[in-house]
């Protein structure tokens, strides 16, 4: 396929998904809509995560920090501001925090970066808890001014579509190429004239803006928030999980994995939460071991490769038996 054909295909696919999601509240039950909302939230989070972390291979665990910052911002701002303004403010504050954080830690690679972003998330969570305890007097916040369900749904849908759209555009821009270059070989990219520091901070800030906006939109859904729920590291982990299982380098991988996950989560979590989490862990291990490119890299050749592997393994076993017997 030619480049332009791929672009048209991607845009059409996105349009189809968006149309389907738009029609869903009109015929789906309450349960289906809430499931779709979770799904859209993870589409937005993991697509935007993959945009920076997938292409540069900087493994950020800070998504929950930006999500929580957005949630707290909208919880405070909604009393005085309009709905869209408070979401924009949430995204803005998350971006500012990401720029500061990125400037401090983006020179470290690999595990150092992952561990540091995790540590900073926890630091922010404890700092907010402490601040709320000392200054406000309570830890949780009840949201009194809440927009109706359809507004929240449409906002999160718009954010998800925007996240995928931005991924499509960035992939074809100079900026996207620079990100890919950093992922492939950072020093070479630098030698070829890419301002890696600026590009990295910009990419990191973009991811954070989406996470902050999604957090701001989802906070009203819960009507009561406290640092433990909105800064929950699990939000960050699950975002990373979805992106990796789907294929962090690809455009559609995170979306496919987000759908699979939300269905799995909603059907399993209520009956057997531990079984859900255990299967999540197992899925993660299996996908890292046997499908490192993610669900989106699944082709017929992958299956035949597994088949060959298992036959080789069985042959090895029988050979061993013959030797012993």
């Amino acid at each position: 396929m030619k480049d332009k054909q791929i672009l048209v295909r991607d845009l059409l696919l996105l349009l189809a998904f968006a149309g389907w999601a738009l029609a869903l509240p009109h015929y789906g039950s309450e349960f289906v809509v809430s499931m779709a909302l979770t799904c859209l939230m993870y589409v937005a989070l993991s697509s935007s995560w993959g945009l920076f972390c997938g292409s540069t291979r900087y493994l950020s665990l800070a998504t929950s920090a930006f999500f929580g910052i957005g949630a707290y911002t909208s919880a405070i701002a909604l009393e005085k501001m309009a709905w869209l303004e408070s979401i924009a403010l949430g995204a803005g504050i998350a971006t500012v925090v990401a720029v500061v954080m990125g400037a401090a830690v983006l020179h470290l690679r690999g595990t150092y970066f992952a561990v540091l972003t995790f540590g900073m998330t926890e630091l922010i969570r404890h700092a907010v808890t402490y601040f709320e305890k000392k200054v406000t007097g309570t830890v949780g916040r009840v949201l009194t001014v809440v927009p109706d369900r359809d507004t929240i749904y449409l906002t999160v849908l718009a954010l998800a579509v925007l996240a995928v759209l931005v991924s499509i555009i960035v992939r074809r821009s100079r900026f996207g190429l620079a990100l890919m270059g950093i992922g492939a070989d950072e020093q070479r990219a630098q030698t070829l004239g890419v301002n890696t520091r600026l590009i990295k901070v910009a990419g990191f800030a973009m991811t954070a803006a989406f996470a902050g906006a999604v957090g701001a939109a989802m906070a009203v859904r819960w009507t009561y928030i406290d640092p433990h729920t909105v800064f929950n590291p699990f939000i960050g982990f699950q975002t990373v999980l979805i992106a990796l299982i789907g294929g962090a380098m690809t455009l559609w991988g995170p979306l496919i994995a987000a759908i699979v996950f939300s269905v799995l989560a909603e059907t399993l979590r209520l009956q057997a939460p531990q079984v859900y989490m255990m299967s999540l862990g197992l899925l993660l291990i299996l996908s890292v071991l046997y499908l490192p490119g993610g669900l989106a890299s699944l082709r017929w050749a992958t299956f035949s490769g597994w088949w060959r592997d298992s036959r080789g393994w069985a042959r090895g076993l029988s050979r061993k038996e013959r030797k012993n017997g």
């Binding site: 401090a104 690999g110 595990t111 561990v115 305890k133 079984v275 862990g281 993660l284 291990i285 490192p292």
Partner: protein
């Protein structure tokens, strides 16, 4: 503040610090040696704690006797996990960076798996038992007997591991592997055998730590994560892979926390340890004692 209360404060900090050092031993071996950042470290520690708790409450076995048992049980588990996951990972990863990232992800999977297995098996309640809970008087100061015992054993195990690495042939091989995996292979060290063994020993040590901790603290299926973070902080302080550094780092962290909590307030404890952690990672990423 009198001299005596200073001493008491520092002593209590040192005791906590010794426990921190103990918690970090296994992870230090795994990350320093094999670049496997086992984020599920605390979860395996929790398994060791539950094993001890079960054996003590149902069979009446002394927790001290469970120290070697939990070491062996978790070491066996570690060998199995290495064979199932990390061996394939070593073969298929094109370079060390990718191996590290993938290993971290596998460890995340293990974390979900083990933690939820435990809460599935034993429920989410707080558990615990009394063992040597009466205070021991030392001059004017009083310390809990079980914490003193845990502190003593923590120092013993750290010392033993440092000695093992420094003075035996096995330790020499392990240190060679830490410095350069390829070089170690070239001079005839069997890395194929040493790798699983060291991963197993690392997990076994976390089992020992869990067993000892269950004597002094209550246990829950979600107790693992704070210990993982503590272990991470301690090994960053000491420099990845350095056993004596981790011991010193653990003791230092304990004293800093005790002093900081005394002079500010207890709810700042988590904030304090994370700040120390981030400051060290940013300013001295190779550890406080690196030359």
């Amino acid at each position: 503040m009198s001299l005596f209360s200073w001493l008491e404060l520092i002593a209590s900090g040192l005791i906590t610090g010794g426990i921190y050092a103990l918690v970090a031993l296994g992870l230090n071996l795994q990350y320093g040696l094999m670049r496997i950042l086992n984020i599920a470290h605390g979860e395996f520690l929790m398994l060791g704690a539950y094993l001890t708790w079960m054996a003590h409450t149902t069979l009446g076995i002394s927790p001290l006797l469970m120290v070697p048992v939990s070491f062996l049980a978790l070491m066996a588990l570690g060998l199995v996990i290495h064979k199932l996951c990390f061996r394939r990972l070593t073969v298929t990863s094109p370079n060390l960076d990718i191996f590290e990232a993938r290993g971290l992800m596998v460890a995340f999977g293990l974390m979900f798996l083990v933690q939820n297995f435990a809460s599935f098996m034993w429920g989410g309640d707080l558990r615990g038992y009394d063992y040597l809970a009466e205070p021991v008087k030392m001059g004017e100061a009083q310390f809990a007997g079980n914490k003193l015992l845990v502190f003593g054993l923590a120092l013993l195990f750290s010392g033993a591991l440092i000695a093992l690495l420094r003075f035996t042939l096995l330790g020499k091989g392990v240190r060679a592997l830490m410095q350069s995996p390829t070089g170690a292979q070239l001079v005839g060290i069997d890395t194929q055998r040493l790798h699983p063994l060291m991963f197993g020993i690392g997990l076994g040590l976390s089992g020992v730590a869990g067993c000892l901790l269950s004597m002094a603290y209550t246990i829950t299926p979600s107790m693992g994560e704070p210990y993982t973070v503590t272990a991470l902080i301690v090994i960053t302080l000491g420099g990845f892979g350095s056993m004596s550094g981790a011991l010193a780092g653990g003791l230092l962290l304990g004293v800093v926390e005790a002093l900081g909590m005394h002079f500010t307030n207890p709810s700042l404890k988590a904030l304090l340890s994370y700040s120390v952690f981030i400051a060290v990672l940013l300013l001295r990423p190779r550890g406080l004692f690196a030359k």
